[in-house]
Amino acid sequence: MINLKINGQSIQSEPGKTILQAAQAHGIEIPTLCYHKDLNPTGNCRMCIVEVKDWRIMQAACVTPVWEGMEIQTHSEKVEIDRKLTLELMLANHPQDCITCDVSGECELQDLAYEYKATAPEWGSKGTRYPVDSDPNPFIRVDMNRCILCRRCVSACAEIQVRDVWGVAKRGFDEVIVAGANTAMLEARCESCGQCVAYCPTGALSNKMNYGMARAHQVTKVTTTCSYCGVGCQFDLLVKKNKVIGVQSNPNAPVNGMALCVKGRYGYDYIHHPERLTKPKVRRYLLEGKKKEEIREQRVVNRKNSPTDPLVSSPWDWVNVEWDIALDIAAKKFMEIRDQFGADSMGFLTSAKCTNEENYLMNKLARQVIGTNNIDHCARL
């Protein structure tokens, strides 16, 4: 173990740890911005600088390893002045439009500026340098004016998604994050997983699908499990006024951590799609007490007609009914078929999209109530 002092407090740390890791392990907070625990540290934002005794310049805590006898000040006056200046330099080149920015309230730059009472210096603000919403990707909104060049997006794409879409172009004041060789994201082979958005500390990368729909404090987050593939990713559904308006990574997700795919993160809008079935429906012939074989011809005719044409009335039309009517009809017809042809004439297809509890009940219905083992689902398909 290595012995060192942080703010006068003697602590021990394993060799090879950074100052930041050693401090965090002992509950000592050091502000960070480009650093994220999931990503390799790059040490480029200078927010985590600390004073190290006998060292001429201050060190970035996220990339400096601890050594024996090290003495560190994390919040000395010198450090705090420098951090505030660093923030002012970032703000000098950042739009002053938090009031309309989508990520206001969950912006790490905003939080630090607030904490350090840093504002954009008078000599700053060169104005809009890049087109806002500059990329045609249907999910990800790009506004490089808000970028602070922390490069988390570059790291997230390279280290989490392993797709290397984002990179850094040019140098100095012109330095800018670009997709591929400065092309559209999809052309740079972006898979639209949104990892870059999840790791972006500001509004430079945000979500198009819910842009302008809610501020962080206006949403409720509900942790749940994805409904697409069998990997079992978890995430938070963002809910505002009883509507799902987005999906957000939940860092505690057991299988996937922050990672999600394009369907999991952006394939949720079917939930509120206007074509959702919201009323039980039965075919008119069932209400008229007719038999299905009597109306075989009308069914064919009905199918040839426009299904939405109200002028053509057919016994095969859908009729919206109350739950009791639909359920009574279903139960009655099932009983009739069981009486007439036996339990094994009935088939039950349960669902690999539904919950365990729902699948259990289908198994119980087929076996206990009906008395058949004709139950299956699409595992084979």
């Binding site: 994805c226 952006y266 079917y270 079935l277 690999a352 999209k353 365990n356 008395g371």
Partner: protein, 567 residues
């Protein structure tokens, strides 16, 4: 998945388009290869995305997985790379198995699979010398008439190399749907109750009969005349691939379908349409009017995952909470509620009519559930591997993988660490059987089917997601550049820009045809096309056939003989 991604020294992906079908697991594998130096062998006729990361890509001819695996095992035995102590201590039937493998020398395997001999040697060396090695597959292995044999042969390979029951090793079938594992665990199969308790086992029958109030002794009345519940059936039921044809044979008269779309997802769509057209009564419980709802008599609006509470079980047997985030939409209802209301109505009528033949005092006879956790309690009681998996435990943040038999059991991340379920692992001698429908003069090309990154299965959900449609808005048929030239397609296709010239091809099989835009790409080898079943106007299942694996009854989606023409 975590142990596989973090601890495997090598991966053998065969028949899994991992980065498109299990994208987040796919990224874990990419990380393992790129940052940890794990070796990756991909065996797939198509140049799928993950091959970019492969140490070696084996492009076997479709339907030749067994000669490939046997050929690799021949080399392993020839070189003495097998795990002799594992074979000795944990397995049986090795000699018979070895005799079969010896029929597949590399030259023969190469001739059947089309993979050069030296690549077989290279692959065998990578797989044998990097331990633990994880085998990963999905429907590319199972959707064949030899699906079960393919799986058994991969189990042979892993036993031969001693990779079973080890973190970072094992056989890792990736389950497709979010809760296909759970649907199987919950008795959504024709031969088993929950947790794979066989319907043919008298003790199991007795256990469920007692719990569900059917323990009233043997029946004397003819099944057809007595319509109330009259005991549990010990006859193995029909699979979906048998129920559907059963309609036209007069065997299946009604279907109750929960959240499934057979018209899109079953083989030979035309035949499915004819069958559903002929059914006496079809109840469909769905969230959207699907292609199947056209044939339904009753349509019951269920809810999406955002509107329900319950559990899903993922591909690694991890049971996780699904939590209701929004109220049910319109007059839609919880799916469990709908099913239990139908059950109650049937039971109530019958109990009244026939004087109650069910023991209502039995603990789980009834259907009055308060909520889904109430149903889970019943599952806990009747399902040994789920005995300790309660909503309450999951809500405290416990991470549980079944088997988890009791409330104080921590769950089981890795199976078969000390012994297999049957005791010793049995080597099965597996021989090659050619696919059911191979290309011929009339249908000279080979079609394989599957999904793409941006869509899900029959597409009911993803076709209603705007952004996904913007990226992938129509069915595309993958055609090799050589075939494209022969067919006279315009080769200047540039897919990403959306400026592709119209290259509409018609793909015809013995059962039907589809027309869709061609995507000219060397992802498919010459002579092969690849289509998906996400779009009703050009669904690959119009073409596929219902030849089944004799055991698993899974259709051979991956191989259909077709002809392709420019429209």
């Amino acid at each position: 998945m975590d142990d596989v991604a973090k601890e495997a020294k090598a991966f053998f992906i065969i028949g899994s388009n991992t980065t498109e079908q299990h994208p987040v697991f796919g990224t874990m594998l990419r990380r393992a290869v790129k940052f940890r130096g794990a070796k990756l062998v991909v065996a797939d006729p198509r140049k799928i995305d993950i091959t970019e990361f492969a140490t070696l890509h084996l492009r076997q001819r479709p339907g030749t997985d067994i000669p490939l695996i046997n050929g690799l095992m021949y080399i392993i035995l020839e070189k003495g790379w097998e795990d002799k102590s594992f074979i000795e201590e944990r397995t049986e039937n090795f000699d018979e198995f070895k005799a079969t493998v010896m029929q597949y020398p590399p030259e023969k395997a190469s001739e059947i699979t089309g993979i050069p001999v030296e690549k077989l040697y290279e692959a065998a060396e990578i797989l044998a010398k990097n331990s633990p090695m994880a085998v990963i597959w999905a429907m590319g292995i199972t959707q064949h008439i030899v699906g079960v044999r393919n799986v058994m042969d991969l189990a042979n390979l892993q036993m031969l190399l001693g990779n079973m029951g080890k973190a970072g090793g094992g056989v890792n079938p990736l389950r497709g749907q979010n809760n296909v594992q759970g649907a199987c665990d919950m008795g959504g199969l024709p031969n088993v109750f929950t947790a794979y308790q066989p319907v043919t086992n008298p003790e199991v029958i007795e256990k469920f009969a007692k719990a569900w109030g059917l323990d009233h002794g043997p029946q004397t009345v003819d099944d057809k005349t007595l319509s109330i519940v009259n005991g549990l059936s010990s006859k193995i039921g029909l699979t979906v691939t048998e129920m559907m044809p059963g309609i036209l044979e007069g065997k299946t008269h009604s279907l109750y379908i929960l959240g499934e779309d057979p018209v899109m997802s079953d083989p030979d769509t035309n035949h499915i349409r004819h069958s559903l057209e002929a059914i006496d009564f079809l109840v469909l419980q769905e969230i959207f009017p699907s292609e199947t709802s056209v044939y339904a008599d009753v349509l019951l609006p269920g809810v999406t995952f955002a509107e329900k509470t319950g559990t899903f079980t993922n591909t690694e047997r991890r049971v996780q909470m699904v939590r209701q985030a929004i109220p049910t939409q319109g007059d839609a209802r919880d799916d469990w509620w709908i099913t239990s209301e139908i059950a109650k109505r049937i039971l109530n009528t019958r109990m009244k009519d026939e004087g109650g033949r069910m023991n209502e005092a039995a603990q789980y006879a009834g259907w009055d559930y308060k909520d889904s956790s109430d149903i889970m309690s019943e599952i806990n009681a009747l399902t040994p591997s789920y005995g300790g998996i309660t909503h309450a435990r999951l809500e405290t943040g416990e991470r549980l993988q079944w088997p988890c038999p009791t409330l104080d059991h921590p769950g089981t991340p890795i199976l078969h660490t000390k012994q297999f379920t049957r005791g010793k692992g049995k080597f099965m001698p597996i021989d090659h059987v050619p696919p059911a429908e191979l290309p011929d003069d009339d249908y000279p090309m080979l079609l394989s089917t599957g999904r793409v990154l941006y869509h899900w299965h029959g597409g009911q959900m993803t076709r209603r997601a705007k952004g996904l449609m913007q990226v992938y808005g129509e069915a595309l048929i993958e055609v090799n550049p050589n075939d494209a030239e022969r067919l006279g397609l315009n080769p200047s296709t540039c897919l990403a820009s959306g400026q592709a010239p119209r290259n509409v091809v018609r793909v015809t099989s013995r059962r039907g045809f589809i027309e869709a835009q061609a995507w000219i790409t060397d992802r498919v080898p010459p002579g092969m096309v690849y289509a998906n079943f996400h779009f009703p106007n050009a669904s690959a299942n119009e073409l596929t056939h219902a030849s089944l694996d004799p055991v698993a009854k899974i259709p051979e989606y991956k191989i259909t003989a077709v002809k392709v023409e420019l429209v």
